[in-house]
Amino acid sequence: MYQSSTLLRMLKWLAVIAAMCFALFPIFWMVSTSFKPIQEWSTYPPVWIPRQPTLENYLALLNPAALAGSHSIDYKVAETAWRPLLNSLIISTSATFFSVCFGTLAAYGVSRYKSGGESYPMFVLTVRMFPPIAVAVPMLVMYSFLHLTGTYVGLVLAYTAFTLPLSIWMIRSFIDEIPREIEEAAVVYGLSSIRAFWRVTFPLIRGALVATALFIYILNWSEFLFALSLTNGALTTVTVQVSNYFSASSGQLYGPQAALGTLSTIPVIFFGYLIQRHLVRGLTFGAIKR
């Protein structure tokens, strides 16, 4: 009995380790490549750990002028990556904020008052059901007409609209889990419906909102299609900037691309680390008899 359970536990751990290796390998490869000199980017057999680690790739992103004399990278992007990082930060953060705010309000209405009717949540979800490429061109036309092309407002608007259905669905499922009677108790014991929401419902779904925000933030941060098509080059996000690193002689500049990829992953991981204590289940345990 003891023997077999130990064996079972070891097998479980092996499976977990295998799955982690599989999942983490691309990240390892990206980080590793970001420190490789150009000779090691795409050689065969592959170089796993950079033999001559260099910060050249990061320098190419953040201060390309410093590389002007070295010529080790045939590099055409004059702009530093600071601006795209800042753009992405502004756009993703605002779009996430609006998406979660409106998502919470809509989800509350749908969950508690059946706003829009029984089929409304499904209807909302159809926004996500056709490929964004189908609307990219019509949106580009509308955006030019409205002078939204290449503006923060334009991208924030597009990102909010396209992530809102997911926000509504995620948040709705959390609100559905909270027994209506808890809010009603707050009302019977002296609060208006709105104050009952703030004093009781909101604290209970706060963790869920943070989780939703992280999910939406990742979507926004890594969005490429709209960032490319709706900006007309006037506004560059991180994802678009990654695609800018190529040259006539060397082709794709994997080093700087990997470096920018690494840099742009850090905020998301940092954000995830900050909120992990909110990611707990069983929000309403103890509130009601089961």
Binding site: A185, G190, L191, T284, K289
Partner: protein, 381 residues
């Protein structure tokens, strides 16, 4: 220390889509009265409470608290406490904050809140729960904290929805006694909802019986038990349930009789006029198990149609199932009753305490105000 109030409900009707949850429900609860609404599942008990609390908008009728119409008054201003069936404690707040919640909203002073919460906690013996979150409570503890939250504010009417459900039998009985004591001490006006007729009988000043949203009868526990308005109330209240025995109405020089193959009862005086109008009708005689006596036949007696089907000793009393040609009936006999299955018996019925309804009817035949008319007990075997 607590205010009380009167509650009046007039013609309350609530529909959910096509389902009628309650239809034309009216009752009045006096100051300090413990009024129980009892009924089976889907009787509309919870809907009634929720409508009184203002959580549901009635489709018809009016709720009055202290004679003020409440229909246009928001739930938060009705001065009612509602203990939800699923309790609905605030899971993110400590026991103290749960109980203090209504008090803070009533803008009570801080020291006063502290004093009031501690007082209530003492009363319900939950002092050790005040600093803890609800998720650490046992079922009975959750129940006490929810009750404390309902008792804490100076509500005019307390609404308790199945406050003792889902507890094991032992805790239920002790909490029931405690509730009764609390009510006696503070004289709060309480509307108590339960599906458990024993709870209703043991706690209430008066009982209302609801069935499928309609009021069946309102009265003291004694009235409901002794003079049920109809077949449903007679069956629902009482354990084991009342027996229904088919019989025919026969009139002769000796009076009006209710007879069948194994029973012959003289109709009590107050029922005789009503029965006389319908001779030879088939009727059902309703008789409580405790009004039936069962006597084993001595060997040598004529063997009749009645035998013991089963004997259920319950400690304080014994229930005997008697097999008759018209199905089994249940009788309560003394605990030392000697009898075994298949033993032939005779059955006696206390005629003063029977109820009669015509077959197919729901309502019992009109009964006079004086039901205790002395009539001798007869038996047949």
């Amino acid at each position: 220390m607590s205010s009380t109030g009167t509650l009046r409900v007039e013609g309350l009707t609530k529909r959910f889509g096509r389902t009628v949850a309650i239809a034309d429900v009216s009752f009045q609860v006096g100051d300090g009265e413990l009024f129980t609404v009892v009924g089976p599942t889907n009787a509309g008990k919870t809907t009634t409470l929720r409508t009184i609390a203002g959580l549901e908008t009635p489709d018809g009728g009016t709720v009055f608290i202290n004679d003020r119409p409440m229909n246009a008054v928001h739930s938060s201003r009705r001065k009612v406490s509602l203990m939800f069936q699923n309790l609905a404690l605030f899971p993110h707040l400590s026991g103290f904050e749960n109980i203090a919640f209504p008090l803070r909203n009533a803008r009570m002073r801080r020291e006063e809140i502290q004093r009031r919460v501690e007082e209530i906690a003492d009363l319900l013996r939950i002092g050790h729960l005040l600093d803890r979150l609800p998720r650490t409570y046992s079922g009975g503890e959750q129940q006490r904290v929810a009750l404390a939250r309902a008792l804490a504010p100076t509500s005019e009417v307390l609404l308790l929805d199945e406050p003792l459900s889902n507890l094991d039998a032992h805790i239920r009985t002790s909490l029931r006694a405690e509730l009764k004591r609390l009510h006696r001490e503070f004289g709060r006006t309480i509307v108590y909802v339960t599906h458990d007729q024993v709870e209703a009988m043991s706690l209430s000043d008066r009982i209302a019986v609801l069935r499928e949203g309609r009021m069946q009868q309102i009265g003291t526990p004694e009235e409901i038990y002794e003079r049920p308005a109809n077949r449903f109330v007679a069956t629902f209240i009482g354990s084991p349930p009342i027996n229904f025995v088919p019989a025919a109405v026969v009139e002769d020089a000796g009076g009006v009789w209710l007879t069948n193959a194994w029973l012959k009862l003289r109709a009590p005086a107050h029922l005789a006029p009503a029965l006389r109008q319908h001779p030879r009708d088939s009727v059902l005689v309703a008789v409580r198990p405790e009004d039936i006596t069962v006597t084993p036949l001595a060997t040598g007696d004529r063997v009749g149609d009645l035998t013991v089907y089963a004997v259920e000793p319950l400690g304080a009393k014994t229930i005997v199932d008697v097999k008759t040609p018209d199905g089994n009936i249940k009788a309560i006999v003394r605990r030392s009753w000697e009898g075994r299955p298949n033993m032939p018996v005779t059955v006696g019925v206390d005629e003063r305490r029977i109820h009669v309804l015509r077959e197919g009817d729901e309502e019992f035949l009109p009964s006079g105000p004086d039901r205790a008319a002395p009539v001798q007990t007869t038996s047949a075997g």
